[in-house]
């Protein structure tokens, strides 16, 4: 057997795990590991400019590729800088392995230089974590970390390794384990057939059925099966923010996103449904509105790999615990065997009603000559990229407009921080997306608030030539905060504007070695965007000035049911 140092074991274990790229930042406690990285081929290291971005980039990589993302950071501030990125991945169930250096074993607990109890700090935001105590345990620990991160409901796993364990002076026999044995961690491999049968019977008896699918369908690689199920049944389907791309955005049976800023038709259909098939969702508060008023007439079937997601927020009639792909496969098989079908006239009447709702609102918004609306920016982006781009997003109004107006064709095309709502996610996530899919067109839809939270990554993009197209929907204010202040605080814009302090983003982009394009007039938008996307190998920063007073609609009314919405500034349901 080979003799390797702890640092070499880490690198080799990653290689044996099939890792090709890691995102990180060096520092004292990980210098041995960086030295081992320097002396090998096969793993590329992307040097970010802030460890938060390393975590988001690894996250973006994982979301696009379906493989786990890997982060390497040093002890203390390096480790704590990853915290927001880890929490972001945790909330959206993204598989990450975060390796942090720790001070040497005999210094732990002494408040040593750059010492932080990162296992303690991250405990509530990881799926699991390890502190390695012996060098010999490094390969098996890394194996366990990847196994836990990627199986069941995925999530981030942190591995903290004291510096002395990675010393080049001490070598040990290396063997990467082929199997993981964890008696306390069992993953459900399939759903209960009896429950699936009950669900099929209930679905066949439905008069106003609705399919509500989420991130679980994307993570579980089940979009094709979902689409097949939707077509087979003839039911309407809505996606959560995390589930967009689960069914093609242009599909006739897709009624758009649901929830706080969901479409009128999706929210109305949810409220009036009599049977709800919920797949890989968690009945988040941004979807349900007040849970006691949620879908008052619906029997609910809930499929999820995580038993703790079931009946957490809303009581469920037929729970099915299992991986979405296995459950949907069996559901389709059972559907094939059953001769029962829905009452055709009831389903037709239901569709007639839904089409009427769709015709009534359908994401309408007002335009005015000479004023550029943020919605138009996304519509133009959709047109210019033929709906093919991978779109990463930051958090705020621009995120909601992107979710509403970009019709995602496939899973893993829409990359956003849904659960945690992390501003600063978009640009580093776009870097990770380009690592996962180097030939893809990647657009980062952002705002002048969010982009400044990780703008230093423009430098990383130059070093590694990540030709991200930054679509800065510039409304000169923290738009979503401002919208809430308009609607709930009588327009008192407390700390949501910048008082002429915004940087010249064009000069800034140029200073970082990129191209900047400024747009202020609606008539210039399309040509400018075409120009930006024609510069295939360059990062282009499009600074697009839009109407600062625009709001995102529909917007659910707090504590109401799903059908209680503002449809524009003066009209409510």
């Amino acid at each position: 057997m080979e003799l390797l140092s702890g640092a070499e074991m880490i690198v080799r274990s990653l290689k044996d795990e099939g890792v090709e790229t890691i995102f990180g930042y060096p520092g004292g406690a990980v210098l041995h590991i960086y030295d081992a990285l320097f002396q090998q081929k096969g793993i590329t290291h992307v040097l970010v400019r802030h460890e938060q971005a390393a975590a988001h980039a690894a996250d973006g990589f994982a979301r696009v590729s379906g493989k786990p993302g890997v982060v390497l950071a040093t002890s203390g501030p390096g480790a704590t800088n990853t915290v927001t990125g880890i929490a972001t991945a945790y909330m959206d169930s993204i598989p990450l392995v975060i390796i942090t250096g720790q001070v040497q074993t005999d210094w732990i607990g002494n408040d040593a230089f750059q010492e932080t109890d990162i296992v303690g700090v991250t405990r509530p935001i990881v799926k699991h974590s390890f502190m390695v105590k012996r060098t010999e345990d490094i390969p098996s620990t890394i194996k366990k970390a990847f196994y836990i991160a990627t199986t069941g409901r995925p999530g981030p796993v942190l591995v903290d390794i004291p510096k002395d364990l990675t010393s080049p002076a001490l070598t040990y026999e290396y063997q990467y384990p082929s199997k993981v044995k964890l008696r306390s961690y069992n993953v459900v491999s399939k759903g209960h057939s009896g429950q699936i049968k009950k669900a099929v019977d209930l679905m066949m008896a439905a008069k106003r059925p609705m399919i509500y699918s989420g991130g679980g369908v994307i993570l579980g690689n089940s979009a094709d099966m979902l689409t097949e199920l939707v077509h087979n049944l003839g039911f309407p389907c809505t996606n959560t923010l995390m589930g967009l791309g689960g069914i093609p955005g242009e599909d006739k049976q897709f009624v758009g996103m649901l929830g706080m800023h969901g479409t009128y038709e999706a929210n109305m259909a949810m409220h009036h449904a009599d049977v709800l098939l919920a797949i890989g969702v968690r009945f988040d508060d941004r979807v349900t509105n007040h849970t006691s008023k949620f879908c008052p007439n619906a029997k609910i079937i809930h499929i999820d790999v995580d038993p703790a997601s079931i009946a957490k927020n809303v009581p469920v009639d037929i729970p099915i615990v299992g991986p979405v792909d296995q459950v949907l496969k069996e559901m389709l098989e059972q559907l094939e065997k059953t001769e029962e079908r829905n009452d055709k006239s009831a389903l037709e009447a239901w569709w007639k009603q839904i089409d009427a709702w769709r015709a009534y609102h359908g994401l309408r918004y007002e335009t005015a000559p000479g004023i550029l609306k943020p919605q138009q920016v996304i519509e133009c982006l959709y047109k210019v990229t033929n709906g093919e781009a991978i779109v990463t997003s930051d958090v705020g109004q621009h995120q909601m407009f992107a979710a509403q107006f970009y019709k995602f064709k496939r899973p893993r095309q829409w990359i956003n921080s849904g659960g945690l709502g992390t501003m600063g996610f978009g640009l580093p996530a776009a870097m990770g997306a380009l690592v996962a899919s180097p030939d893809a067109t990647v657009a980062c839809v952002t705002g002048e608030g969010s982009i400044q939270m990780n703008i230093q990554e423009l430098s990383t993009c130059l070093q590694y030539n990540f030709p991200v197209k930054i679509i800065n929907v510039n409304n000169q204010s923290l738009g979503m905060v401002r919208q809430w202040q308009d609607m709930q605080y009588q327009g008192r814009h407390s700390s949501s504007t910048y008082e002429q302090s915004l940087p010249d983003f064009i000069k800034l982009a140029e200073a970082y070695g990129h191209v900047g394009i400024k747009v202020t007039k609606p008539e210039d938008l399309e040509d400018a965007m075409k120009e930006a996307f024609s510069l295939k190998d360059r990062l282009v920063f499009m600074d697009i000035y839009v109407d600062p007073s625009e709001h995102v609609y529909p917007m659910q009314i707090k504590d109401g049911s799903m059908r209680d919405m503002w449809l524009n500034k003066s009209e409510r349901t």
Partner: protein, 163 residues
Amino acid sequence: MRRIISILMENEPGALSRVVGLFSQRGYNIESLTVAPTNDNTLSRLTLTTTGNDQVIEQITKQLNKLVEVVKLVDLSEGAHIERELMLIKLKATGAQRAEIKRTADIFRGQIVDVTSSVYTVQLAGTSDKLDAFIESVGEASILEVVRTGVSGIARGDKVLAL
């Protein structure tokens, strides 16, 4: 409603903090907690008492089961079970009180395990209610110090919580 949840978990550093952390993160109560290794020294047995309606208890058990170090758990209060808590209580024991405390301890089947000219230390085991009753009987005025272990429990009959 009060519940007794008993957990078998890996006897590893950090496992306990994950269990305790879960309760504070998710806003659940812990009323008492006791933990020690079992006859299999790779496993610890942790018993805790908590309160909540059925929905909350269901979530607590599901969330606990998700922790990687939790091997098995049981809600003992769902079936017939035996619960015990141990208390050491130090009491002022002078004059007429001295005999009274001895009598009360006898009634509760406690034992006086340490004696000075002015102090008795009583050891008492039983359900939490019984310990509460003893404290009430001797009266606040004579109590110098109370130490309770928290509840431990085991199911009645053939049911076992083991691997």
